[in-house]
Symmetry: D2
Subunit: 335 residues, 4 copies
């Protein structure tokens, strides 16, 4: 508390970058010092709002000497180079998921991460959602005995633009990757992946050979089985639920409600208002908590931040799911 706030350098000022800027500004333990974006107008706008310095060059930001930690919120293909540059400057990194779409590039970076010892955290925000976090803590505490089955339902309100689909790496690397990490948050000994994907409604998925509907089944060495159900659209709004079934009971995570008002009439009873729109609304608290844990990591305190290795593991699972969905065969993984 009496420590100096961590001075952040934020790289990337798109939608998610702005969320992080706001979290940093709201935290008493963090301050936004520098902002970089090749689209320099964006950098200037964010910098002005929070009293930071703007630049179009991430290199300039990293070399400024005025930042204690880097937050990478730029497009995926830039992540590996920016992590590397940060590590070489000795700066801890909180990087948005995924590390990269190509596991070879991730593996090439791995020795540097290991040798420098500088912390690299991955932006798996959902681990910090109070609902998921509470469920996980209660499972770990043994409240439902041995965990035998995990069902994760994850549906986005609407498919992204076709252009984005084309560079996204496919539904498993782009969307399911959050669910793979969530699976590992609960179960860490996954040994094989089996997946099925179809394209039923989204023109972008069809155009780029991607799936808009997908199911992945993960088998753990313990015999536990994880089922992930995804859709690129959802008429009911952002749908992120979970069910952890154990030998002694079951914990379920539901969608949060806009408010507690329920309506009954002659057509239906106990109807609730629609779910909150999308992840920025739903996971606002989670982003703040994620930042708090990363600050602890930077300060060398005990922290629950997911790491580079967690990011790599999720990508391996996504690759395996993609291959399984294409071949119809289960794919063994080593994480």
């Amino acid at each position: 508390m009496t420590q100096q706030p961590i001075r952040f350098g934020l790289i990337g000022t798109g939608r998610i970058g702005q969320v992080h800027a706001a979290s940093i500004a709201a935290s008493p333990e963090a301050t936004l010092s520098w902002v970089a974006d090749p689209f320099v107008d964006g950098a200037h706008a964010v910098a002005a709002r929070y009293g930071a310095t703007a630049t179009e060059s991430a290199e300039t930001l990293i070399a400024s000497g005025e930042v204690d930690a880097i937050l990478i919120a730029s497009p995926t293909p830039t992540h590996v180079d920016l992590i590397e540059a940060s590590l070489r400057a000795g700066l801890p990194v909180l990087c948005e998921k995924p590390i990269d779409l190509d596991i070879a590039r991730v593996d090439a970076l791995r020795p540097l991460v290991a040798s420098t010892g500088v912390p690299v955290a991955l932006g798996f925000n959902r681990r910090f959602d109070p609902n998921h976090a509470s469920a996980q803590a209660r499972v770990r505490a043994g409240e439902i005995g041995d965990l035998e089955q995990l069902i994760i339902v994850s549906r986005d309100p609407a498919a992204p633009p076709a252009d984005y689909i084309g560079v996204s790496g496919g539904i498993f690397r782009d969307m399911t990757i959050h669910d793979f990490d969530m699976a590992r948050f609960f179960i860490d000994d996954i040994v094989s992946v089996s997946a099925t994907g179809t394209r039923t409604f989204d023109a972008g998925a069809r155009e780029h050979g991607d799936f808009d509907t997908a199911v992945a089944t993960l088998r753990a060495a313990s015999g536990a089985i994880v089922t992930i159900v995804n859709s690129r659209h959802s008429a009911i709004g952002y749908d992120q639920r979970m069910e952890a079934f154990g030998s002694k009971g079951m914990l379920q995570v539901g969608n949060p409600l806009q408010n507690t008002v329920v309506l009954s009439n002659g057509h239906a009873v106990e109807a609730r208002p629609p779910y909150p729109e999308f992840f920025l609304e739903r996971y606002a608290e989670a982003y703040a908590a994620e930042l708090g844990e990363f600050v602890k990591l930077v300060r060398g305190e005990s922290s629950t931040s997911p790491t580079f290795e967690d990011g790599r593991a999720a990508l391996i699972l996504a690759d395996a799911a993609q291959r399984s969905a294409e071949t119809g065969a289960a794919v063994a993984v080593e994480l």
Copy 2:
């Protein structure tokens, strides 16, 4: 089980009489022997369906020598005389509520009930509803500590015809009387009643100076307070809920649902299908259980049937509520 079934004489073959006829026929411990109704076609129809003998005369039925117990489902003004005739014949009675609309007539009958020792049970079916019964048993078992507050919400789907309102004795004696008995099912030391009634939507209530909307507050010697909220109509269907609040927790009884299906879409989420229509659907199980307890009473076994005294107590509370709603003053009662 190996005992002979109880032979029932059913008096009255209107809607509720037919319900009781079906319950008797379905029970392995009861059989329908005689049916009486001055509207003799109704008696014949019911008798034919279940292989009983029909008559237009209740006296004939009581004197037949072929019935072991009487079930009175005829109009309220006939109840007192029919109970008296049954008792003089030594026949146990299950009588629909209320005993009478006039407490003087009830009190006049009281000594005979006491002196004969022949059981008289009252048709407070709701005590046998599995939901209310479970809540009451759990309260009695101490699950919520001392019972401090009871809220009973009771709303009929639609107001009865204006003609019926005119002879009903008013909302408190006709409708709330069930809730007064429910209150006593949970709390037996009620000492005063305060009530408020208004007429807001029902022409029949206005025509006959009755209320269509009412609230009654009962104070117990223990300090517990019961609140009863009534309406003669309900756009959400038959609405019968309860909340028992105690020093250690709270038990709530909700409305049963038609089925377990819930709908979510962009307008509302987790919406349930409408509640079942009315008391015949909702309390079908309760009527069967009520009969079962009465059979035990007839056989001299331990039974939870509400008694003549329970019927009298509910009427005293209804009278007090009526007076309070008219005068604005709380009315003390001795039960």
Copy 3:
């Protein structure tokens, strides 16, 4: 209504046979005429209770001339021969699932079924559950648009004895077969199956090389994906839920509750009483409705009874799931 009741010959008087005997006895449109069981004491007990004739020989029952329809509730290996004998006697059959564990025997029987035109219905009782049936009807009515995903969760309270596991044909043919039929109740163009099974807690499963935990993923030609999640045990009681996700909304089927009472205290709030124990309690209504539809089938009326072909399709899916779980590869099916 004015038609003569259908005279039933019941073969098999174990647990499920007794359920059917009770359903037949309770139906105004059916009567139990003959009962057969090689364990003739069981046959006599059931026959005595409902006024039927008992025999140890199914052949005698079929040849009696006193039955209009056959209900087969004997062990699975006898089903094919009994169906054949009934068909040759011109008697419609309601047969418990599965037809047989060996698709070759089912296929061998198929031409006879087709050529005689005598109705053969399969005992997929869950189609008649009011909850599942309501959800299916609403999906068919277009309430959620195009059906894109179906999640079926199905968990038995406790694993059967190891002996039973040994002759059960394995979890997919014994337990999941109900879920395969449920999948086809909603989606009829399934083209491939992928499955994962593990053994984590049940000694019987381990002993016989069976699974106690399983997930199956079915792909439809339309692109819809069905996910089935099974466990041989469930600490929360019999757990049978479903979620139908469509382009316009979602319908979910929950577990029925014992009653509507909820408890709140300092430890937890809005807690409901445990789910009903097992299928006899949960699906009591469904067995009655199943019989009603079979009666219509026997009478040549329009009926929703699942057929021999439905029984065969479910077995093909079970076989495919078994192979997929063993090999790790998705298996194409033609139904």
Copy 4:
């Protein structure tokens, strides 16, 4: 937005004063300039935290010339004098409820409020709770037709210290006053009050002749009836629910949940975690929204802030309830 933030003078730095200080600091439209408390250490602590000036004298604060609006969070007996001083200085006031415990003092202040035209808002925070506010807006929008019944359940986690009870003015003026305002938020033509109070568990209530359990029934000119159910303790945590029943449907406001996780096991199913502790947690959002509406009022914009007249009306209802609970007679009110 481009307007200067309103400079607030906060009088009183107890628990609720600190909540308001935090809300002011968090709002981009408000700033905390001065803080007054005769317990000057408290004033200094709050002032230091938010960069304000501290004083022990409310008069000094009001006369500072550096505040645009006054927030009164001092003990109830000081409210009337502080409102008067603020008005004479031309400063708009947001005053915590109640205005005073003595309606005579409130009435004596009334002409000044009317003649100066300077806004006086009352701190009925619950109107700004998103749950209650949504329900009220939907009722006003006609979603449930004519409002016929309102049930308000309001229970505090634990009774306050006996000393506080002694100066609180009694449960109706201290606690129910919020519910009286909530009733008027929905229904503004209340004409009479009937109340029942008991003392069953709280030594402080017994010592000071107060009630710990209370029910109030309000009758509206329209015939609508409001029922308020209060307890000074609640084993289930802070319990604030509502049910608005209308001619076309019903809206219910439930307690918010800590998170969306539900637990099922062999003892109970679908159990939720305990409710949030008390009003500071539950109504955090409401306090911020309350401040926002007051800022609008100060700026002369359209605002939904409850007014001095609302504060007076709630006190009249509380007085009437107190008299009714003491005499047993309904009390007519003119608001």
